[in-house]
Symmetry: C2
Subunit: 407 residues, 2 copies
């Protein structure tokens, strides 16, 4: 598997564009389009929030229908959530205008929105944006970047990632883009992600691969524990690579899953590192847990603790807060079997052994925690299962950004 440049336009047969439509702000890219020249099999995972935005409801319907799609149109600025039947109409309007500008069916257009909840979209900027998006479509890496930039909200950098690999002598490419730096929490966050691949794969196999992949990537990141109304991950597969169709268990399925995992994990880590106000990427790996689900719950509990997040911000090896967060995870374990190690490029240090402090040097610990990427490893001594979660520190800037997000 090779990491390659690009995002949603990396795979064969895909184009993209991004434009300034004036959805909410002026002079800011706020609409994006991903387009497949051939009808593409689509799989999706969506927010678990009871309050679901109109585009989420629309995409869930399209994905369930089992029919191929050709395009995903996305906007930033307004989330189109808590907008009632009027919101549903605007969402349909967006799909219709995009379809007509592309000369395809409305049911071939997935939609996604991100931004402020409760505000209605306006028809005029959407119509203008859809036209501009269709006119400026291109299959270049630059076009992919424009799309990735157009879906940003409080993100400080755009997020793209792509890999290629071979199955039976055919090169398969998977590329994706994502956004999301606030309202990010396990079980999907205010995050949008579109992944495109030229692999030929059955719809069932694609959905299975995506659902598994999301469980260990997007569902393992947390910025603030707030699970949004709009989370959407879509994968389009158009079969242009010319491989024999992949089904669950067939040749190539494992390789595809591994490559997809590489893309989703990389995008997830980029999102965590760009968490609102983040100054550090925090990785929490739980090893030696009794079961996989237990390992995930323990890792998530530590990554989401405000007290752990502020301690990491302050480069303070306050391991008691880590033990405490493991303890209220809902999982049962013997605390006196637990070991906690911190790690960064500076080195690694065992803080806790058998549930109690080692004779570590606070100075050394502070040095390790002062790096911009910090890993905490919790070994539970209970079994063989492990899991990794990603998040970030909690800083003054998080409070600043979110105390004044709408203005």
């Amino acid at each position: 598997m090779n990491i390659i440049k690009g995002g949603v336009t990396a795979a064969k047969g895909y184009k993209a564009s991004g434009t300034e439509a004036g959805i909410k702000y002026k002079d800011r890219k706020d609409m994006a389009l991903v387009y497949s020249e051939k009808p593409a099999v689509v799989a999706g995972t969506f927010t678990t929030n009871v309050v679901k935005a109109s585009p989420v409801l629309w995409d869930m319907k399209l994905v369930r229908s089992g029919k191929p799609v050709r395009a995903v149109v996305l906007n930033s600025g307004i989330a189109n959530a808590c907008t009632g039947s009027v919101g549903d109409e605007y969402n349909l309007w967006m799909a219709e205008k995009m379809a007509s500008a592309l000369g395809i069916d409305t049911e071939e257009v997935c939609t996604a929105s991100t931004g402020v909840i409760g505000m209605q979209l306006k028809k005029e900027p959407i119509e203008r944006g859809c036209k501009q998006l269709a006119e400026t479509l291109a299959d270049t890496a630059e076009a992919g970047t424009l799309a990735a930039e157009a879906i940003m909200t409080t993100d400080t950098v755009s997020k793209q990632y792509a890999v290629d690999f071979e199955i039976d002598g055919k090169t398969i490419t998977i590329g994706g883009m994502s956004k999301g730096s606030g309202m990010i929490h396990p079980n999907m966050a205010t995050m949008l992600c579109v992944i495109t691949t030229d692999v030929l794969i059955s719809k069932d196999a694609l959905q299975k691969a995506l659902s598994l992949s999301v469980a260990d990537s997007f569902n393992m990141i947390s910025v603030d524990r707030d699970t949004s109304t709009n989370d959407t991950v879509l994968v389009l597969a158009n079969g242009e690579a010319g491989n024999d169709e992949i089904c669950e268990g067939s040749a190539g399925y494992v390789e595809f899953c591994e490559a997809l995992d590489q893309v989703t994990r990389s995008l997830a880590k980029m999102m965590a590192a760009d968490g609102e106000g983040a100054s550090k990427l925090l990785e929490v790996t739980v090893t030696g847990a009794a079961a996989k689900e237990s390992a995930r719950a323990l890792a998530k509990s530590v990554i989401t603790s405000n007290l752990v997040k502020t301690a990491v911000y302050g480069s303070d090896a306050n391991w008691g807060r880590i033990m405490c967060a493991l303890g209220y995870s809902g999982e049962d374990f013997d605390p006196y079997k637990t070991a906690v190690t911190i790690k960064s490029v500076t080195g690694s240090l065992v803080l806790v052994r058998d549930g109690m402090a080692t004779d570590y040097s606070e100075d050394e610990a502070t040095k390790i925690l002062s790096d911009s990427e910090v890993t905490v490893i919790c070994d539970m001594g209970e079994g063989d299962a492990c899991a990794t979660a990603w998040g970030c520190d909690l800083t003054y800037d998080y409070v600043k950004i979110n105390g004044d997000y709408r203005s």
Copy 2:
């Protein structure tokens, strides 16, 4: 029922003291004692964290034993959690030294600790503290205040509350003290609370009343969702009021429960208002929920949302975050039946009706949210159940306090 001055020394037959023992810091009160002249029935509720501090394990054993107790000795500065069998020894040492200074049995002394996790206590300051506490015991309101001050950590004010009421012509008094302003989360937080009453009541009735009372008070406050290793609520009842013994369902039981609720809720609200870095007390009331448990879960979900807490800090009527938090509570409801109202001394304003924005004035909303006590009322339109949770805003100071707590 009357609200009266005082705390743990308000009820008949109780004394208290607070002293500087030098547990972790100098020139700071850090040990407290509550003492009952007669053996008292004791009930308790404790942290649900798997990682339980040594004093928690000790008290659980005493409460389970069913025997009466005479004293509670508490220290701040060191939590005596994650300290292994050595920690258990130090805890027993604290109970023994206190018992010998008071001339009572070790098994008559409950213990409680709060502070940094993972550090061992030292014997010398404990022994000195126990002596000083025994020597300075008094039944005055001032002595109660000294005790309440000695258990503070990052608290900015001490917390005491007391009421009296009559049962069959006998005056019953209930008074309490508590501490805790970080690691505070539903299901008990880094909070210690000791309540004393002179009522004559059976142990079973006292435990039942306390467990019910905690569910709607201490378990409904949240500062940072971190459930601590040390949470302890103890109620001592010494029977000095001279009433006929109260049992579950007997005359006076309901009155006692109401008075106890008044004390626990008042202390809980004080703790929420004094949350680390808090500039505002936030109250979230859910009405019209399908069931009581559902109402509690919905209210807790809103009170714990970092995005809601930062919006309240910024006096921003970002109701989408409230809807979002209701939506990921795990409870099912129809968002298009939901109404959201904000309220403070300045006035009240309906922001959301039928799940969508009303035509409210942002200026008016900002004015209401600028007060130091803000209430959010979420009516779910699903049934008759309601619940209230208390918390605070998330501020720069929270980050400051917790990025640098240990130094």
